[in-house]
C-alpha cells in the first residue's frame, strides 16, 4: 500500500516539480527556437511515458499485492499486445526523431550571407578574430603562435593583415545578422558555449570547427567553456555583447588589426606609455 502510494507520489512530485519549480532555461537570444520546441515535444512524450509506466506499476503493486490464497496468472506471452506496444513506441520515437533531424539539417546548413567570426580558445581565455575589410580571414597555424602573434596568423598571407584581433576581451556581434562561428584552439579542447544562444561546438586544436546562429536580442551574455580543458576550465569565462548596428560599428572602429599589432614598436609609441 505504502509502496504504491510512494510510486504515485514520485510521478505527481516529478510533474509538480517540472511545472512549479523556477528552474528553466534562460530566455533565448538566438534563432534556435526550433531546438527549444523539439525539446518541449520530447518533454511531453517522455513525460507521458514515464507517468504511464510508473502509474501502471503503482496500480499493479496495489491491486496484485500478495494475499493468502491468491495465485498469479500463468501467461507466458501475448504476441498481439507486444506488437502493439512496439508499434506505438516506434511512432513515439519517430515523432521525436523527425523534427530533431529536420532542425539538425538547418543547424548544419550555414546561410550564404553569414559573416565569419573566429573564436580562438586558449588555456584559459577567449580570443576572437574578425575578417576585417576584405571579408576574409587570413591563414593561421598553431606553429606560428608567438607573444606578438597570439593567434598564429600567417604574416605572409595578405588576407590576414587587416584581420581584427581581439585578445582576451569582449566580443561584440550585430543583432539579426547570421554569423558563422569558426572555432579554433591553440592548445587543448575547449567548447564555446553561451547558454542563451543554445548552440555550441567543441574547438579542436589542429582543425577548425563551426556552428552558426543569428543573435535576436541585444544584451550581454556570458561565454563559458563546456569542454574540460584543465585546471582553469571552470574559470574560463568571457562576454559576448549583442549590439545594435550603430553600437557595433562604434565598437569595431576601436579595434586593432593584425598588421598594426605585429608592426615593430615605434619609439613614439613607447613615449606615449611613459608618464
Amino acid at each position: 500500500m505504502a509502496v504504491a502510494l510512494i510510486l504515485v507520489l514520485v510521478v505527481v512530485g516529478s510533474i509538480l516539480f517540472h511545472i512549479l519549480s523556477p528552474w528553466w532555461w534562460s530566455p533565448i537570444a538566438s534563432n534556435w527556437g526550433y531546438i527549444d520546441q523539439t525539446l518541449i515535444i520530447t518533454f511531453w512524450i517522455t513525460g507521458a511515458v514515464f507517468s504511464a509506466v510508473v502509474l501502471f506499476m503503482a496500480y499493479c503493486v496495489f491491486r496484485f499485492r500478495h494475499r493468502e490464497g491468491i495465485k498469479a496468472d500463468y501467461n507466458p506471452e501475448n504476441k498481439k499486445l507486444e506488437s502493439w506496444l512496439t508499434a506505438v513506441t516506434a511512432v513515439g520515437v519517430a515523432a521525436m526523431l523527425a523534427p530533431g533531424l529536420y532542425v539538425w539539417s538547418q543547424f548544419i546548413t550555414v546561410p550564404d550571407d553569414a559573416t565569419e567570426v573566429e573564436v580562438v580558445g586558449q588555456q584559459w581565455q577567449w580570443n576572437y578574430r574578425l575578417p576585417g575589410e576584405d571579408g576574409r580571414l587570413g591563414k593561421s597555424d598553431n606553429r606560428l603562435v608567438t607573444y606578438e602573434n597570439p593567434l598564429g596568423i600567417d604574416p605572409d598571407d595578405p588576407y590576414g593583415q587587416d584581420d581584427v584581433v581581439i585578445e582576451a576581451a569582449d566580443l561584440h556581434l550585430p543583432i539579426d545578422k547570421p554569423v558563422k562561428m569558426l572555432l579554433r584552439s591553440i592548445d587543448v579542447l575547449h567548447d564555446f558555449y553561451v547558454p542563451e544562444f543554445r548552440a555550441k561546438m567543441d574547438m579542436v586544436p589542429g582543425t577548425v570547427t563551426y556552428f552558426w546562429f543569428t543573435p535576436t536580442r541585444t544584451g550581454t551574455f556570458e561565454v563559458l567553456c563546456a569542454e574540460l580543458c584543465g585546471t582553469g576550465h571552470g574559470y574560463m569565462r568571457g562576454i559576448v555583447m549583442v549590439d545594435t548596428e550603430e553600437d557595433y560599428q562604434a565598437w569595431l572602429d576601436g579595434q586593432t588589426t593584425f598588421a598594426r599589432l605585429s608592426a615593430p614598436p615605434k619609439v613614439g609609441a613607447m613615449d606615449a606609455v611613459e608618464p
Binding site: 534556435w32 496484485f64 501467461n75 539539417s105
Partner: protein
C-alpha cells in the same frame, strides 16, 4: 506438449561433455586466497570492487560538498576537484560496476545457474581476479604519485590529458591510470573468455539456451560485447601511452601550451574520441544488460509469475547488444566531427530505444495479475524500473542530435547518466545482493536495516538526480568546481545545489548501514534454508547451502523445464524447480 515420463527419461543420453576435472585445494591458502573456485573468486571480485567503490563514493561526497557549498572547503582546490571527479567516474564505471556485474555476479551465478561445477578454465579465472586486483592497486597508487592522480575526466580526452594544464598530466598520474586500464582489460579478457565458454560449453543436460534464466543471458551477452569493445579502450590507452612516454603524435596536434610550442604535430584528438566511445558506449550496455537480466529474475521470482514475453526479452538483449556498437558517436555530436554523422547516429540511437522499451513493458506486464511479494529484492527491482525509465527517457533528449546541442556538457548529462547507469544498476546490485545473500552465506540479511537502506537510497537518489536535470536545463555546465555568479542562473540554483548535496550525503551514509548489515547478518541473520524465495532456477536447488566447491554433490542436475514455471495452473505449489522431473497438469496454453 511433451511431459517427461519415466520412459522418456530412460532416453536421456549420457553426458556429452565429460565431467570437469576439479582442482582440489589442499591448504587454507588455495582454498580461500588463491582459490580456483568461481564462487570464491566471485566474492573476491565483489569485495575488491565494493572496497574501491567505497573510495569513489567518498570522492563523490567531497565533490558534492564543493558544489553545494563552494568556497567553504579550502582543501578542495580545482585540481583536487578534477582529480576526485576523474577517479570517481573511472572507478564507478569500470572498477566497480563492470567488475561487480561480470566478475562478481558472473562468476557466482553462471556456473550455478547453468548447472556447471565450475568455470571451464578455473586457473585462468583465478588469474583474472589477481590481475584485476593488480589493476586496482596500480590505480590506487596513482593517488600517492607525485602530482596526484589524473584529473582529465574519465573520458581522458587528449591533448589536455597529458599536458601540464591538467592535474597529473605531466606526472605519473596519467601513466598509472593508463597502465591500470590496460591491466584491467587483460584481466577481464581472461575472465570474460571463461564466462562465455562456460555458457556455451558448461551447461548441464537439458539446459538449452532458451531455458536459461535471463540473468545468464544478460551477463553472457554483456561479456561478449565487453570482449569486443574493450580492445578499443586498449588501443586508445596504448597509443596514448606512446604519445605520453615516447613522444609520438597519434592524438597530439601541433599546439602551444602556456606560451611554449610543444614537439607534437599533426595528431587527431577526434581519433581518440572515436576509439574511446567505440568502447564507451557498449560499456553502458555492458553494465546495463546484466542488470536487465537480474532484474527480470527478481521481478519474476517475487511476483510469483513467469517473466512476460521471455522470447522477446532474449531477442531484445541480443539486439541491444548488437545495435550498441553502431551508436557510439552520439557522445560526439558537438565534438566537431563531420555533421552528417549526426543523422546516422541520432537514428540508430533512437532505434535502440525500441527494444529497450519492450523490456520495460515486459517487466511491468509481469507484475500484472501477479502475486507480488514486496520483499527487499522486489522493492529494489521496482525502484530500478522507476529510475531506469526516467534515465532512459532523458536519453532520448541527448540521443536526438539537435536537442543534445544545448544540453551536452551540462549537468543534464550528469543527471541522465547517473540515473540510467549509476543509480539504476546499483539498485539492481543491491536487489541482487538481498536476493542471493542467503545462497552465498546461508543467512538472510536483516529486514529492518534493509528497509531503511532501501527507502533512503531510492527516495534520496531520486531527490539527487531528478532536480539535477533542471540545473543542467538552466545551462550550468558540468565539470565546474563552482559556477560563481552568472546572469543565466539565479541564486536559487545555488540553493538547489546545496539541497542536492545534503541528499547525496544522506544517501551516502545509508550505504554504511548496508555494509554493516552485510557483516552483521553473517552471524546474526535468520537461517535461510536452501531456497528461501521458493525460486525455480538451478542455483536454489543445490544439495547444500552455501554450495561447496563443485556445487552439485555426486550428480549434476538434469534440467526439465525453463526457469520461469511459477504459478503453473494445477501444480501443487506455486513454483516448479527447473530440475523437477514431475509432470505438470495444466490446460492448453
Amino acid at each position: 506438449m511433451v511431459d517427461a515420463t519415466p520412459h522418456a527419461e530412460q532416453g536421456i543420453p549420457p553426458a556429452e561433455t565429460p565431467e570437469l576435472e576439479l582442482y582440489h585445494p589442499r591448504g587454507w591458502w588455495t582454498t580461500y586466497v588463491f582459490s580456483q573456485d568461481a564462487k570464491v573468486i566471485a566474492i573476491q571480485y565483489s569485495g575488491t570492487a565494493l572496497a574501491i567503490g567505497l573510495v569513489a563514493l567518498v570522492l563523490s561526497w567531497l565533490m558534492r560538498l564543493q558544489l553545494g557549498f563552494p568556497g567553504t572547503f579550502d582543501f578542495i582546490t580545482p585540481e583536487a576537484y578534477y582529480q576526485f571527479m576523474t577517479m570517481h567516474g573511472m572507478i564507478m564505471v569500470i572498477y566497480l560496476l563492470t567488475a561487480l556485474f561480470l566478475g562478481g555476479f558472473g562468476n557466482y551465478l553462471i556456473p550455478l545457474m547453468v548447472g556447471a561445477r565450475d568455470m571451464v578454465f578455473p586457473y585462468v579465472n583465478m588469474l583474472s581476479y589477481w590481475i584485476y586486483l593488480l589493476a586496482v592497486l596500480v590505480l590506487v597508487a596513482s593517488f600517492f604519485a607525485p602530482g596526484g592522480p589524473t584529473g582529465a575526466g574519465w573520458t581522458l580526452y587528449p591533448p589536455q590529458v597529458i599536458l601540464s594544464g591538467t592535474p597529473g598530466g605531466q606526472g605519473a598520474g596519467i601513466v598509472l591510470m593508463l597502465v591500470s586500464l590496460i591491466l584491467f582489460i587483460i584481466g577481464f579478457t581472461m575472465g570474460g573468455l571463461n564466462y562465455v565458454v562456460t555458457v556455451i560449453q558448461g551447461r548441464t543436460r537439458g539446459m538449452t539456451l532458451m531455458r536459461m534464466p535471463l540473468t545468464v543471458w544478460g551477463i553472457f551477452t554483456a561479456t561478449v560485447m565487453a570482449l569486443l569493445a574493450f580492445p578499443a579502450l586498449f588501443v586508445a590507452c596504448v597509443m596514448m601511452l606512446f604519445d605520453r612516454l615516447l613522444g609520438t603524435s597519434f592524438f597530439m596536434p601541433a599546439l602551444v601550451e602556456m606560451g611554449e610550442l610543444m614537439s607534437y604535430g599533426g595528431g587527431s584528438p577526434i581519433l581518440f574520441q572515436h576509439l574511446f566511445w567505440f568502447f564507451g558506449h557498449p560499456e553502458v550496455y555492458i553494465v546495463a544488460l546484466p542488470a536487465f537480466g537480474i532484474v527480470s529474475d527478481l521481478i519474476s521470482t517475487h511476483a510469483r509469475k513467469n517473466i512476460f514475453g521471455y522470447r522477446m526479452m532474449v531477442w531484445a538483449i541480443v539486439i541491444i547488444g548488437a545495435l550498441s556498437f553502431v551508436v557510439w558517436a552520439h557522445h560526439m555530436y558537438v565534438s566537431g566531427m563531420h555533421p552528417w554523422f549526426g543523422f546516422f547516429f541520432a537514428t540508430t540511437t533512437l532505434i535502440i530505444a525500441i527494444p529497450t522499451a519492450i523490456k520495460v513493458y515486459n517487466w511491468v506486464l509481469t507484475l500484472w495479475r501477479g502475486d507480488i511479494h514486496l520483499t527487499l529484492p522486489m522493492l529494489f527491482a521496482l525502484a530500478f524500473i522507476v529510475t531506469f525509465v526516467n534515465g532512459g527517457l532523458t536519453g532520448l533528449f541527448l540521443g536526438n542530435v539537435v536537442v543534445d546541442v544545448p544540453l551536452s556538457d551540462t549537468m543534464f548529462v550528469v543527471a541522465h547518466f547517473h540515473m540510467v547507469m549509476g543509480v539504476a544498476p546499483v539498485l539492481v546490485v543491491f536487489g541482487a545482493i538481498y536476493h542471493w545473500y542467503p545462497k552465498i552465506t546461508g543467512r538472510m540479511l536483516n529486514e529492518a536495516m534493509g528497509q531503511f537502506h532501501f527507502w533512503v537510497t531510492f527516495v534520496g537518489a531520486y531527490a539527487i538526480f531528478f532536480p539535477m536535470h533542471y540545473v543542467g536545463l538552466v545551462g550550468v555546465p558540468r565539470r565546474y568546481p563552482e559556477l560563481g555568479d552568472v546572469a543565466f542562473a539565479t541564486d536559487s540554483v545555488h540553493s538547489l545545489n546545496a539541497f542536492i548535496t545534503i541528499a547525496a550525503l544522506t544517501v551516502g551514509f545509508a550505504q554504511m548501514v548496508f555494509l554493516f548489515n552485510l557483516v552483521w547478518s553473517l552471524r546474526n541473520g535468520r537461517e535461510a534454508g536452501g531456497n528461501p524465495w521458493r525460486a525455480t532456477s538451478l542455483e536454489w536447488q543445490t544439495p547444500t547451502t552455501p554450495p561447496p566447491h563443485g556445487n552439485w554433490g555426486a550428480e549434476r542436475p538434469v534440467v526439465y523445464r525453463w526457469a520461469y514455471d511459477y504459478s503453473v495452473p494445477g501444480a501443487p505449489e506455486d513454483f516448479i524447480a527447473q530440475n523437477d522431473p514431475g509432470s505438470r497438469h495444466r490446460g492448453a496454453v
